[in-house]
């Protein structure tokens, strides 16, 4: 009898358990998100984390083991990053007429977002690895977790910082656009996609198709520009940290 109980308890140390827990938590989060009418505060990233954070300590699985259990899921981040070429390709057509200012805006905007995050964290005394984790916080997560390896940051911290950035950006966008008297939907969309990546893009679609398309474009371009620039620039930045 004890043998059977032991082998049952051992189940929590298999990939099957980790993946089942992950998928079930995500399914639950999708349901909550739908129920909340897609409120940024109830974004699946946050809600799906809660059951996992509660269950893992209860069954005695630590975070390293859980990461090993779910390598099958994180492996898909690679192809998901490659996949971003598709929406980027689709949206490049819609903005051909303003392509030059958009490219300039992307480079400047990507620089502003990264520099502010790095500057603030450094000023408040965070160590180099923490500062490095925040540098890619405005870009879409699959790219951010790749880039953070070249800045010597923590993957977990980067993923969390990216998610919170998206949520804060999506929540603050309405008031900020009112304050700055922005009426142009292209600007609303582009700013949201640039600063708040995928979560901001979802918010932008609430302003309409055009805002959504500009947000999707900004998300893709900003991720691309940051991923291309940061690995080269970072060694130079890091010597001042």
């Amino acid at each position: 009898m004890m043998d059977k109980l032991d082998s049952l308890a051992g189940l929590v140390h298999t990939p099957l358990f980790g993946i089942l827990l992950t998928l079930a938590s995500y399914r639950f989060a999708l349901w909550v998100y739908g129920r909340s009418n897609s409120l940024p505060l109830f974004h699946p990233f946050l809600v799906a984390s809660i059951p996992v954070i509660i269950v893992l300590p209860l069954v005695g699985v630590d975070y390293e083991e859980y990461r090993d259990q779910t390598t099958l899921i994180s492996f898909l981040l690679g192809p998901a990053t490659v996949a971003l070429a598709w929406p980027l390709y689709r949206q490049l057509h819609t903005v051909r007429s303003v392509l030059t200012p958009i490219l300039i805006a992307t480079v400047l905007g990507a620089f502003i977002s990264a520099a502010i995050a790095v500057g603030l964290a450094w000023w408040l005394g965070a160590p180099a690895e923490v500062v490095g984790s925040l540098a890619p916080k405005s870009i879409t997560t699959p790219i951010a977790v790749e880039v953070v390896q070249s800045t010597g940051g923590f993957v977990s911290l980067a993923a969390g910082a990216v998610a919170i950035t998206g949520i804060v950006g999506a929540l603050a966008a309405g008031p900020i656009f009112r304050l700055l008297k922005v009426t142009d939907h292209r600007i609303k969309g582009f700013a949201l996609g640039l600063v708040a990546h995928a979560i901001g893009t979802a918010r932008a679609f609430e302003y309409g198709e055009k805002a959504g398309a500009f947000a999707g474009l900004a998300l893709g371009l900003c991720g691309l520009v940051t991923a291309m620039a940061l690995p080269w620039l970072w060694p130079w930045v890091a010597q001042y940290l």
């Binding site: 990233f45 964290a121 925040l134």
Partner: protein, 123 residues
Amino acid sequence: MIDGLLILLFFQFLGEVVIRLTGIPLPASVVGMVLLLLALLLNVPFSQRVAPAAGALIKHISLLIFPLGVGIVLQWHRYEDYALALGVAVVLGTLLSLVLVTLMLKKLLGGKHGESAGGRHDG
């Protein structure tokens, strides 16, 4: 779906090959993304078949990411000393970026093509 997955993995692999040959410090998947974008823009045969798989992966990107994010809470002892710096950089930094980026866009895009007015209603 299988075609799309095949295309995505192929381009990721291609990115890996390019990085190993050239030694450039970029993530392989980002290089793969650029190569796929070029293939699409050049109308390479079959490249459009990436759509279903690409759409599915992007739609459920949160599922792929949040297992990494839970590490923040489960390994909080690593980060608690810098909680203030983190909070300020992430929350205040995001608000600041959003304001600056919006102002910059107003300068760059504002008034162009006669669409600056919000009178148009799309949505």
